[in-house]
């Protein structure tokens, strides 16, 4: 399914980033970083909206030959970025949406955890497990 999932804070530093396979990690870090610009562009282009300006899901940010990048911004300006293998054409838009929904729900649970300080990296095992369940099946 997904090959890389990242949660970026509103100040644009990563709260959580994970990718498989592990050797490609640097490349995915770089991809997520460049996709942040596209996210900002989409969020600020509200007036001339091609995207429904009231929606949280941003859709396909940009495709490359190997993979596609999807984005989602919450009301608290936390961004979720997902990199998906292009060869996996079976993934439809609503599946991506539902994956982002699950991510958002887990993120909300992490926020409400008293042992979590907003702004720290996410260490929650429950969040890890949920992300693992979305990333398994690639290799």
């Amino acid at each position: 399914m997904a090959v890389c999932i990242a949660v970026i804070a509103k100040e644009n530093y990563p709260l959580y980033i994970r990718s498989i396979p592990a050797e490609q990690e640097l490349k995915f870090h770089y991809t997520v970083h460049t996709s942040l610009d596209v996210v900002d562009e989409k969020v600020s282009a509200m007036g001339k909206a091609l995207v429904d300006q009231r929606e949280l899901y941003l859709g396909l940010l940009y495709p490359t030959e190997d993979y596609k990048v999807y984005g989602y911004v919450t009301n608290s300006k936390v961004k979720f970025v997902m990199v998906v293998d292009s060869s996996n054409t079976a993934l439809r838009d609503n599946e991506i949406r539902s994956m982002f929904r699950k991510l958002h729900n887990s993120y909300t649970d992490v926020m409400c955890n008293p042992f979590y300080n907003p702004g720290d990296r996410i260490h929650s095992r429950a969040f890890d497990n949920m992300v693992t369940s979305m990333m398994v099946q690639v290799c």
């Binding site: 009231r54 929606e55 949280l56 911004v73 009301n75 608290s76 300006k77 909300t108 926020m111 409400c112």
Partner: protein, 158 residues
Amino acid sequence: MADEALFLLLHNEMVTGVYKSADQGEVENGRCITKLENMGFRVGQGLIERFTKDTARFKDELDIMKFICKDFWTTIFKKQIDNLRTNHQGIYVLQDNKFRLLTQMSAGKQYLDHAPKYLAFTCGLIRGGLSNLGIKSIVTAEVSAMPACKFQVMIQKI
């Protein structure tokens, strides 16, 4: 019905608890009020994350303040803010004529000097919620006659 009373009673105990566990010096310095406000801040951050999970994106600052006055207040206190005023330059005054946390206390001037203790948590709640939505602010509260109170929000432009 029951959950409303639970929050009210818990809040009252919390205020008493913080004051009891503070040293003599701290009570006079107002550190307890800061402690309560910080508690409210963290709670506000988590609450906003939960409440805005399914709502649409906010257009501007006024939209966010309206959300706080209507949905946020309704979910916590089961009623809306009665009056929202702004000078369009970053100052908002939220007026609640029958603030839930004060109705049990009195209906006039009695216990007026104790009122700020019970408003500190809610000030923090508002500040935490706004900060998670990307707005830095200072929130203060004043009471002239219970149970009506006013929350003043000053948006800080960075």
